[in-house]
């Protein structure tokens, strides 16, 4: 993150609760070190639930909710958590938030809960959440930690949204379940709603990201 330490958060000018790292943290999570397209984390769920745009967005929302909540509490407890059991404590906090989200989904959004199946529960093992708690929240103050959880959740949600958009559109000719490409002339490409379609879509998305950022050319210079 050495490349933009001159950037000071516009809202607090470096003296507020986000320690002057607000904008940088957001930018890192959503774009510079995007958890899916750069770090290639959380792939299991990114491949499994993105056959519909709606599912992708709900899954993204779940990650934002769990990420923000987990980072907040891990950060709040960072000075009182014994190092030896810190990972167990993190998992307990993550699991609590995941189950809360899952229960709410089951109560108020039954259809979606059925479609996402086990993948909401599996956020407990999502590398993004655990990774951010370990790498960021454990050594940063609560507000900026929440921002980091939000940024990484957003980064995940944006990538899933894009993949879900293309998979649903190409795979069924619909968006949010509404037919947008005429059924009389458009033949749905069923590969896109199968698992291999997710691999192909994600592959092309990462290739596009790399082409835009030129990330492969920067490699080796160090940061």
């Amino acid at each position: 993150m050495a490349h933009n330490d001159q950037v000071v958060c516009a809202t607090c000018g470096g003296s507020g609760p986000c320690d002057g790292k607000g904008r940088e943290t957001l930018r890192a999570g959503v774009w510079v070190t995007n958890p899916v397209s750069v770090q290639v984390l959380g792939i299991c769920s990114a491949l499994a639930v993105t056959n519909k745009l709606e599912n992708s967005l709900v899954m993204g929302a779940a990650l934002i909710f769990v990420g923000v909540g987990t980072n907040l509490f891990v950060s709040l407890l960072r000075n009182v958590t014994p190092r030896r059991i810190r990972m167990i404590a993190e998992v307990a906090i993550i699991a609590t938030f995941v189950i809360i989200f899952d229960q709410i989904l089951k109560a108020y959004y039954w259809e979606m809960s059925k479609q996402l199946g086990p993948y909401v529960g599996l956020i407990i093992t999502n590398c993004i959440i655990m990774g951010r708690a370990e790498a960021f929240a454990l050594s940063n103050r609560p507000v900026v930690s929440m921002l980091d959880g939000l940024a990484n959740g957003l980064g995940y949600a944006v990538v899933l949204g894009i993949i879900g958009f293309f998979r649903e559109l190409v795979g069924t000719g619909a968006l949010f379940g509404h037919q947008v490409l005429g059924a009389d002339w458009y033949t749905p490409n069923q590969l896109m709603i199968l698992a291999p379609g997710a691999f192909i879509a994600l592959g092309f998305l990462i290739a596009l990201y790399n082409a835009i950022t030129g990330i492969n050319k920067l490699e080796g210079k160090g940061s």
Partner: protein, 355 residues
Amino acid sequence: MKLILTLLDKTRPLFQEGGRFAALKPIYDAADAFLFSPLTRTSRAPHVRDPLDVKRYMSTVIIAIAPCLLAAIHFFGLRVLAMVLVSYAAGGAVEVLLAMFKKEEINEGLLVTGMLFPLILPPGLPLWMVALGSAFGVLVGKELFGGTGRNLFNPALIGRVFLALSYPRAMSAGWIEPGQGLVGRALEYATDAVTMATPLAAAKSGTWAALPKLFFGNVTGSVGETSALAVLIGGAFLLIIGIANWRTVAAMLGTFVIVTAGIYSGDPHAIIWHLLSGGLLFGAFFMATDPVSSPIMNSAKWVYGAIIGIATALIRNFTGYVEGVMFAILLGNIFAPVLDELFVTAHVRRLREEG
């Protein structure tokens, strides 16, 4: 011809680096190389992997495919030619665009892929699907791996597997009934022809097509694969010239016969029937022997062929799919680099122990 040559030579500076049409250099080079011999010669694989130069290799394969193509036109009509043209156009467009993007030359690989691809499709497939499959095969199957000579999988098969998974309904409904008689459908375009089940699909429900029909190709199936006779003529030609490696073919067909014999407890009719039906022979001579996606070591080719032969027999008889050659060859392709690695290491160790 002289006129074209002088024209090409004169306009060369325009297409070089810094010239007015530098972006179109790949097209210029392709025209130049196709009509005359190129100024620069290929120095990378598959040139290194095979004693022939790439262009000669490609043209020989095209000649060997001719009998299959003619048989296909006879049985399924002029539509076959349209499929070939569309396949070339779509694959070519992707090649040209990528060559311009990567500022490289267009390579000759498409000459063979573009011809093989339509021959492994159902004859009644909509032309836009042919175009899409060809483009996908070239882009994902070949160019993303680095172009001709670097692809892990056979690009034509990648295109077909893409279509089979994307449009299963169209791919299982495009089996046109073959034309009968001396002329067949050679003079028709055959768009409204009746479709029927392929011999392998029919066999699953108990109807076995007659052997002579399978041998001459008077059955439905993928465009170029139905006539065992035509495939054998072209295949024999490739074997004699030495382009198709006989070890791969022998291992693949040999193991296929052994496994099939085991399944049908040695019934000779069933073995010959399975040998002649579906895409087995076409796959053995034209697809599995592709020098790029098969192993280089001769000893590895035996194992490679055996993997394909066994997998084909197993998929045909024990899964929901009626034909397994496509998956079997792709499976073999996955193993090819590993097999080379194993056999090279073993070979080096043996040499070291001796010396």
